[in-house]
Symmetry: C3
Subunit: 165 residues, 3 copies
């Protein structure tokens, strides 16, 4: 692992731990995260601190990987995929004061080895996407996806119990 720091027109990288042969395209904002060997990160992607991405993954353009997300090896994240880490987000507290990091706790999300998340999917927090599962494009995933299953819809339901390869 090496640590990447770059402030350029193409990329804003702050303390990004990167394995061998990681490729990060232009217009990317990433900080305090880790990215495994051979993984590609597309344009207009933001990856927040504490997010962990495995080896041989593809993180496609316009996606957002937040704090609390762990993505294992060989995962495909489509374009415009959004992860979430707070089920009841608020800008301000009940007394009207602005929320800060101490006002909320991160709900974790786990994407298991070899899963694929279709473009424009939204993955709610506290969810596990099982090994080799396939989340259909445009789905809103609100609960765990079993290993190998195909899910789709808003909210996402199981279409097939085993997914094609």
């Amino acid at each position: 692992m090496k640590v990447l720091n770059e402030q350029s027109p193409s990329r804003s990288l702050v303390n990004v731990e990167a394995g061998e042969n990681v490729r990060i395209f232009n217009f990317v904002n990433a900080y305090g995260c880790s990215i495994g060997d051979n993984t590609k990160v597309g344009s207009f992607v933001e990856i927040q601190k504490g997010a962990k991405i495995g080896r041989n993954c593809k993180i496609s353009s316009h996606s957002f990987i937040c704090e609390g997300v762990i993505i294992e090896d060989g995962v495909f994240v489509g374009h415009n995929v959004t992860f979430i880490n707070d089920r009841y987000p608020r800008a301000v507290n009940a007394d009207g004061s602005q929320q800060t990091e101490v006002d909320w706790t991160v709900s974790p999300t786990l994407v298991r080895r070899g899963a694929s998340i279709g473009s424009s999917a939204t993955i709610l927090c506290g969810v596990t996407v099982g090994e080799g599962a396939l989340v259909g494009a445009g789905s809103v995933v609100t609960r765990d996806v079993p290993p190998g299953a195909v899910v789709a819809g808003n909210p996402a339901n199981i279409l097939k119990k085993s997914s094609p390869r």
Copy 2:
């Protein structure tokens, strides 16, 4: 209020009225809008002319705030949220000529104080999101959301009449 103008690799800001302590992250495109005190604007956000954003708001990455949108104080706008100001958009007129600003009228949208809009939500035009309401992640909001309600789905329906804090 001061007026921000900046053309840099990080930001394109043209005539942005900004209050005290506004924070605008990198890769942001904003013009002719106003942003209240203490509000934060994330990466890959576009804010169009005439949009008004209140104080103590959080506008998260990848969101699009168009002309005709008014966001009151203390509102949370999640990641990848899209507002709309034209219910029947067209690139060209019936005669095949390109549309210009004179060919359409803006339908306004109002987000009331303290509301939260979940990530990846789409808010159709002509809609009011009530005070303190919570729009679930991935929802498509096609009609008014009552104050304090929780809505979700495509189209969004009421899940609870009062939202948690």
Copy 3:
């Protein structure tokens, strides 16, 4: 047609064939595609190699046009619209090796003259959107849209057989 190449803080353009009066805004990533006369391309848009966009189109901010997509003249593509070219995407092959271009084939998508695709819509691959059709905001289009029809929802269904102008 001229060929645009630009590496600047505003734009990354590589071998983009552009007609007369094409306007490309800032924070755009486009390569190996063609864009017809008078078409506008908004911020945070990515257009991949082989994509073809006609004349007098509007491609709004945050949209993603992938390889295999053909957009005819006078088409409106809203904000945050995502096209797809692979129904079963994977990052790795069954043996765990990373996929490359030889491991998948592109499924084409066609958007006919004068159609409008609402913001945040997702268009699955292998689909034709008919002439003058209107795809509602936030829709997930999984099958062909007849000419002139209005569709909406996830999955998108026909709301009206003929669309307003």
